[in-house]
Symmetry: C2
Subunit: 285 residues, 2 copies
Amino acid sequence: MTVPPYADKIHNWYLELQTRICQSLEAIEQESLKIDLYKSWQAQHFEPKKWKFNQSGGGQMAILQNGRVFEKAGVNVSCVWGEFAKEFAEQIPGAAVDPRFWACGISLVIHPRNPFVPIVHMNTRHIVTTKSWFGGGADLTPSIPFDEDTLLFHQAFKQCCDSHDPLYFEKFKAWCDKYFYLPHRNEARGVGGIFYDYLNTENFSTDDNFNKDVGKTFLKTYPAIVRKRMEMPWGAFEEDILLKKRGRYVEFNLIYDRGTQFGLKTGGNPDAILMSLPPVAKWAA
Amino acid sequence: MTVPPYADKIHNWYLELQTRICQSLEAIEQESLKIDLYKSWQAQHFEPKKWKFNQSGGGQMAILQNGRVFEKAGVNVSCVWGEFAKEFAEQIPGAAVDPRFWACGISLVIHPRNPFVPIVHMNTRHIVTTKSWFGGGADLTPSIPFDEDTLLFHQAFKQCCDSHDPLYFEKFKAWCDKYFYLPHRNEARGVGGIFYDYLNTENFSTDDNFNKDVGKTFLKTYPAIVRKRMEMPWGAFEEDILLKKRGRYVEFNLIYDRGTQFGLKTGGNPDAILMSLPPVAKWAA
């Protein structure tokens, strides 16, 4: 059996992190009540939505829609297990010999309404086949970048990485730049962050702690960046830039993103997998 | 050398078809001047835009944007040649032994503004490696389907197919249904049409004529369907259905469409390849 003995413990951490992230974004929705810019919209809460995996397990999505600061924010925790399809198993470490897997993780994408507030993605996960590893990352995609925000984001994850291994940050930052790239556009998706996969130092609790710290770092840094930008007024010009940036985000997620491919190919819930898609996007001709 | 002796002749046919299609859609833009529904928008013309392929050849896009009836219509003719990348060559008939190719074709996607007017796609192409073949198809994607329009579209292509081979229609219609399908949504992209590939009866002019007839059939049927629906008033409810249908269209094109993959993997012009993407699309949470 592939379900590890610590399954509930790790699953509960992801659920706890989900709750904390949702509360933190809901607090921003409430704070925005005093900002006139958002007067056309209502402050919103996250709506939970459970779903079942077509094999075993399932997940709990939390979606905030049509809010004041957040046009769409989706935070999904999934804990699924079963067997990989044969052709897919060959691409997954340890699955060629035995296709059974267990996977648990959290994934979020936030689409703010204000073009000065960056889009963000964060994901951490633990996967078990005949091998086991951690993976994850966080990357920032501003429509209108501010060096100051980029620096803040990178510094936060540098500090997080450095407290675990002095080699992590440089490696995971480069991996992020390489991964979140649209070759057909010769364009980076955003301004980067960190990306890691197949992490297994053979010390489970060390790796588990690093993975947890990535989640905590997200909680410390993204809301701070939102608060710095959310009072900046915008107009149709900036909105157009935002909607086109979202178009690029859709291109990346549907053409290249491995999490999306993983989900769609393992028969996952399309609503949960494609929760990352923006509410509205534009393409220039 | 892979450039066939009839290269110019076939390329010119595609350019001629492009002109006729553009004129036919521009005529609808003009007719709409008397329809009050479209008073907020200007009638538009197609703007030509030439592009160069990163190996040899290139293309000519024609794009109509922000029109009255057509929010975006893109008709692209490309005629490119060079060598396939090794890993890609293995998937293309005749290219594993010699990676050189020549490809010429026309491709269009039309995104109407009125949710009662269906989205449409048409493509015909001729590809030469050490083998050579024709491919193409046309399929209708109504946001709000009318059986009457679906029937008209299918009947037109049935007539076109039947005049060439009594077995074509059934085969190409089934291929279309199978191809334009979103497995992750358990959903057809639209109401179908025809799709064919690797067509080579060993009589070049027979196949060439069939390919040309597919283009002519498009010209006969789609504008007629547009004219039947373009005067139907719509509101926010129907517009929402349209924008979400476009979201699905984006999913299909970026995740599954072979033409898109072919273009992106051969280093084609991303603007021409992704011309099929809608100006705006929506996703429900």
